[in-house]
C-alpha cells in the first residue's frame, strides 16, 4: 500500500513539470532557500553583441604565426593558423585526432564545469540507462554559473562551488575525494566577461591547486564552447579566451588541451544551431546532439602517450 502511495505521489509530482501556471504563492516552509544579496555575477546575457570589442586583449603572437616550435609531443598541435574571420583555427588546438578510445578511458575521471557541463552530466546519466558503460565511471562536479573566479573563493554557505556527494567543496578537494586520475575542466563562459587575461590567470591557479593536492592527476583543459549570439561574453571573446588558454597551458606538465569547441563552431565561429538547446534565450547551452558531438570528440582526441 505504501508503495502504491509513493508511486502515486511521484506521478502527481512529476506531472507538475509540464504545467506552466504562474501561481507563486509562498509555501509555508520548514527549510527555505536563502535569499542572499551578494556581488552580482555577470551572467551570459541575451543582449545583442555590442559594436566594438570592450575586452580587447592581445592574443599571443604565436597564435597568429603559421608555425610554432615543435612541442615534442606528437599528439599535440605543433602549428595552427588562426582563421580570424571564422573565429576558429585551421586545426584543433591541443590534442589531435587519435584512434578512437574505449569508454574505459574515462574511468576514474572527473568532469568539472558550469551549466554547459551540467547538461553533459544529465546526458551521460541518460545514456547509461541503456549503456551502463557509457563514459566509463566518469563523475561530474558541476554547477550552474560556476567559474574559475568562483572556484578560487572560499567555500561558504553562499559560494557557488558544486557539491560532491552532497558536500560543497573546492575543485581540488573534489578531485581528491573522487580519487580521479583524470580531470576534464571546461570553465570560462562565466569568466571571460570579466577579462580574458584574468580568466586565464585564474584557470592557471585552479590547475596549480589541483596539482598541489593531486600530483598524479592528469588535467585536460577543454576549450569553452561558443554561443550563437549574445554578449558577456561574445563568441569572439570566447575564441580569444580559448586561444590564450591554450597558449598558456600547453607546456604545463601533465596538462593537455582538448579543443571541444572546434567541433561545435559553424562557418562564422558561432555555436551550430543544431547543437543548441536554448536558441531563443542564452544561445549557449547544448542539447543531446551537442553532447553527442562532445563525447565523440573526446573519444577521438584522446591522450595516447604521456609527454611527461
Amino acid at each position: 500500500m505504501k508503495k502504491i502511495f509513493f508511486c502515486v505521489l511521484c506521478a502527481v509530482l512529476i506531472c507538475a513539470s509540464c504545467s506552466c501556471g504562474s501561481d507563486t504563492k509562498t509555501v509555508p516552509s520548514v527549510t527555505e532557500a536563502p535569499i542572499v544579496t551578494e556581488e552580482p555575477a555577470q551572467a551570459p546575457t541575451e543582449v545583442p553583441e555590442p559594436e566594438g570589442d570592450p575586452q580587447e586583449t592581445e592574443v599571443p603572437s604565436q597564435a597568429e604565426n603559421t608555425g610554432l616550435a615543435e612541442s615534442g609531443a606528437s599528439a599535440d598541435a605543433s602549428a595552427y593558423k588562426v582563421l580570424v574571420d571564422k573565429l576558429t583555427t585551421d586545426i584543433p588546438l591541443g590534442l589531435q585526432e587519435s584512434e578512437r578510445v574505449d569508454f574505459s578511458y574515462f574511468n576514474d575521471s572527473l568532469f568539472v564545469g558550469d551549466s554547459v557541463s551540467g547538461k553533459l552530466a544529465t546526458y551521460v546519466m541518460k545514456q547509461r540507462r541503456t549503456d551502463p558503460g557509457f563514459m566509463g565511471t566518469a563523475q561530474f562536479f558541476v554547477a550552474d554559473s560556476f567559474s574559475c573566479r568562483n572556484a578560487l573563493k572560499q567555500v561558504t554557505d553562499t559560494s557557488k562551488h558544486p557539491t560532491y556527494k552532497g558536500k560543497k567543496m573546492t575543485i581540488e578537494d573534489a578531485v581528491a575525494a573522487s580519487g580521479s586520475k583524470k580531470v576534464f575542466i571546461m570553465l570560462g563562459m562565466n569568466d571571460a566577461a570579466f577579462g580574458i587575461d584574468k580568466a586565464v590567470d585564474n584557470m592557471v591557479t585552479v590547475i596549480e591547486r589541483i596539482r598541489d593536492k593531486n600530483p598524479e592527476t592528469t588535467i585536460f583543459i577543454q576549450s569553452a564552447t561558443p554561443r550563437i549570439r549574445g554578449s558577456q561574453p561574445t563568441t569572439k571573446e570566447l575564441f580569444k579566451y580559448d586561444l590564450l588558454l591554450y597558449e598558456t597551458v600547453k607546456d604545463m606538465d601533465h596538462v593537455y588541451f582538448v579543443d571541444v569547441a572546434h567541433a561545435m563552431r559553424d562557418e562564422d565561429g558561432n555555436l551550430r544551431e543544431m547543437l543548441c538547446s536554448d536558441l531563443t534565450t542564452m544561445t549557449l547551452h547544448l542539447n543531446d546532439k551537442g553532447c553527442q558531438v562532445w563525447v565523440e570528440w573526446l573519444v577521438r582526441h584522446a591522450l595516447t602517450e604521456d609527454r611527461g
Binding site: 508503495k3 511521484c10 502527481v12 507538475a16 509540464c18 501556471g21 516552509s29 551540467g118 550552474d144
Partner: protein, 162 residues
C-alpha cells in the same frame, strides 16, 4: 486509504489535463482517461509525456547527488530536469528512522541552498522559483519539491502521508 488513493489519482489526471506544457517542451497533453499508475517511474513519466524533460534518477545517482547514506533510506524517488538550467526537481524520501530523516532533511536543505546559490544573479526567474520552495518534513518522510507548482504538490504530499 482507498479514498485518498483515488483522490490522488484524480488529482493527477486533472493536473495533467490542465497542464499547458513548458517552454522546454515538458510534455504533450496527458491522456484523458485516468492512467494506470505502475510502480515504474519511467513508465509514469512516459504516460504523462514527460520522459524527454525530467530524468528519473537511479538509487545510486540519488545517493551520489544528495549525499544520502544508503542505510538511511527505506525508499527514495527523485527526478531532475535534463536541461541542466531548469530548476525543476522532485525528491521524495522515506527514511528508516527519525535520526535518518534528520540527516535527509539536512541534506535536502543544503541541496535547496545550493540550487539558490547557482541561480542567484544567473537566471533570476529560476532563482525566484527556488526561493519560494522549501523542504518538507513529516516524521520519516521528507520531500524537496522545486517547481512553479510546488505549493500544490507539497499540499498533496502532506495529505497523502496524513
Amino acid at each position: 486509504m482507498k479514498k485518498i488513493l483515488f483522490l490522488l489519482l484524480c488529482a493527477a489526471v486533472i493536473l495533467a489535463a490542465c497542464s499547458c506544457g513548458s517552454d522546454k517542451g515538458a510534455g504533450t497533453q496527458a491522456p484523458a482517461a485516468s492512467p494506470k499508475v505502475p510502480a515504474d517511474m519511467d513508465a509514469v513519466l512516459t504516460s504523462f509525456g514527460l520522459e524527454e524533460t525530467m530524468l528519473v534518477l537511479t538509487r545510486e545517482e540519488i545517493l551520489f547527488i544528495y549525499g544520502f547514506e544508503d542505510a538511511d533510506l527505506k525508499q527514495a524517488s527523485a527526478a531532475i530536469h535534463e536541461s541542466g538550467i531548469q530548476c525543476d526537481e522532485f525528491v521524495l524520501v522515506e527514511a528508516v528512522s527519525e535520526q535518518a530523516a534528520d540527516r535527509v532533511e539536512e541534506l535536502l536543505g543544503l541541496r535547496l541552498k545550493q540550487k539558490a546559490n547557482e541561480m542567484r544573479d544567473y537566471l533570476p526567474e529560476q532563482y525566484d522559483i527556488i526561493t519560494k520552495c522549501s523542504v518538507y518534513r513529516d516524521g520519516f518522510y521528507t520531500a524537496l519539491i522545486v517547481s512553479p507548482q510546488a505549493e500544490s504538490f507539497t499540499k498533496l504530499f502532506k495529505e497523502a502521508i496524513g
